[in-house]
Symmetry: none
Subunit: 197 residues, 4 copies
Amino acid sequence: MARTTDGDGTPVPQRLLAAATRLFAERGYDRTSVQEIVEAAGVTKGALYHYFGSKEDLLQEVYSRVLRIQQERLDAYADADEPVERRLRAAAADVVVTTIDNLDDAAIFFRSMHHLSPEKNKRVRAERRRYHERFRALIEEGQRGGVFSTATPADLVVDYHFGSVHHLSTWYRPDGPLTPQQVADHLADLLLRALRP
Amino acid sequence: MARTTDGDGTPVPQRLLAAATRLFAERGYDRTSVQEIVEAAGVTKGALYHYFGSKEDLLQEVYSRVLRIQQERLDAYADADEPVERRLRAAAADVVVTTIDNLDDAAIFFRSMHHLSPEKNKRVRAERRRYHERFRALIEEGQRGGVFSTATPADLVVDYHFGSVHHLSTWYRPDGPLTPQQVADHLADLLLRALRP
Amino acid sequence: MARTTDGDGTPVPQRLLAAATRLFAERGYDRTSVQEIVEAAGVTKGALYHYFGSKEDLLQEVYSRVLRIQQERLDAYADADEPVERRLRAAAADVVVTTIDNLDDAAIFFRSMHHLSPEKNKRVRAERRRYHERFRALIEEGQRGGVFSTATPADLVVDYHFGSVHHLSTWYRPDGPLTPQQVADHLADLLLRALRP
Amino acid sequence: MARTTDGDGTPVPQRLLAAATRLFAERGYDRTSVQEIVEAAGVTKGALYHYFGSKEDLLQEVYSRVLRIQQERLDAYADADEPVERRLRAAAADVVVTTIDNLDDAAIFFRSMHHLSPEKNKRVRAERRRYHERFRALIEEGQRGGVFSTATPADLVVDYHFGSVHHLSTWYRPDGPLTPQQVADHLADLLLRALRP
DNA sequence: GATGAATGAGTCTTCATTCAT
DNA sequence: TATGAATGAAGACTCATTCAT
């Protein structure tokens, strides 16, 4: 397997991805130079371009990974055998916890999407839409079943909730008074309360 | 007073600010070159550096203007002679309408703040904190008066609402099905419903 | 006029063009770095990009200048009030002398044209075609008048002659036994002899 | 003998040479990457460096092959038992046909020679000189015998003709009105007519 | 014979800012 | 007030070549 690992034994592509994620979150995509990434990962520029076609590909990889993980988790919660309000609450809380656990990814997500080329942007948007639609379907299910208010269009409710999720990277601090789970419970609670008929 | 205006009669500094705002929102701060700004404003580089010390100053000006406007409006609504739930609803809805009316500023705000130097960043954060505190005070007033639930800390509620406001620039489209006022009413409604005791 | 000149008083754009021409001819377009050009011209990279949009623009400028000069000279000879065989001989000899006087340009011309972008390439080809057609018209005039043989299509005769002109940069050495004018007379002579009826 | 061939059964070195020839002609030596060559040949980089010491060696091989072929053909025509004007005409026409049949090689030849290292360049030049001298000897033989004019030095006549041969790759198109043999006849004819006493 | 991961020097280009006029 | 030529540092990316396997 040649020299795919080095030092700590982590494969080079993953070392690069980790370094890029941290740096993109820290100083933004445009302010992070390829040079800084490879230095942080302990490899050379050539190695980076051996695995990734461009700096943008690195960003795109971060997105794909996050979206894949979140989608899988959402699907699991949404498919559970429970009343809809419990499933929605669980999903709403889980995305908060997962987001806090990967605050770097979240920060990148909502600040750097416009740095992707139109083509890649389109693909990411499509994946994200799929995610939103799954979430919206849960709300609509509850509305049809009469357990959620129909006062607000489900679409808007989804954006309302995800606005607060995206916003987490702006204000949440690990050393703050609330644990991730507490924050998640509160935010899920606010969502469910707003949906009471 | 020489030629402080030109063409349409708008003073040069304001033309620069308008051009910068549009471009920063369109392609991001780092992707906008000083050359593009001056071309869009119809002036030369020398002129820009005559009025603004740096590109960053331009960004900071955009922030200051938005914050000043929002603060003034919030103060007006908060000071009104009305029951607290009406004042909160009005303020919550107003910030949505104002944000939609200035989506460019909003987009810049939540994507480019980390481009400010630490010093300027600190100042902007301070102004924003003042704004948040005023909003939080309204919620706490309602909680103390028993008209709002105390289930969730006021702090978190504020972030919950402003998360959705920031998020507007991501999803709101002027040609969508809802008018700014309708969106505002819905979002304010969700907030108030979530706060029902 | 700011600092458009420096050292020897030659304007910066012309100094850059001269340096580029020499270097492109010496080591080829791709083997000449922008860094080398600006060093040879005694300016900085920024200055180059202030005047020329790209390295390719520099190459295109070399082409345009050569073509313009050659076309003007050809037109002058072709329009003269002389018998056609004298006009053709004069034009055929002149292009040889001019080419030898600017061997660098010639070397670039026939080695680097494929380095131009398709769009620029098309423009250069069009200009060159115009030049060829003027030359061909002279030959056809003589053929119609019976002073030149019609054994060979005029098109081919033109390419035959210009082949030898282009080839000059491959073999002609200023310190060789023949002066430019002597070479020119010989080559024109060969052309005219080949065209004898 | 392991896998020296693959797919179509052509040995790897020849597949590489063929791919390199096409690509060098198409986009120039410097613009062709080793990666592109091995991809076009359907092998890996390791394989290329197993058979060729460097990218330059590949170029040198193209040269050597062309020169060897042309020299052999010229020798055959020059040694024939025919009057000198017939031998010259045959040789002059043959080099045109052979060049057209291998336009790629010709294009490379007259555009990429300066990409060879001084040492290799010297060797190629020497071989080419030998070729030229053989051709020149034919002309001088005719001049001494009184069948060719002595108005122009034989040297110059050789360059005159080869100029037009080199030029072929610039203008000749397979789908044009003339067949390779027709072009060859015309160009040989022009040469012989120019040499009429 | 053949692989392909890794190197590291080198490429063109961009850009905020300065300053003589 | 305003110009625009010039700077110089930094940016992303390419590529021939090597070498452990």
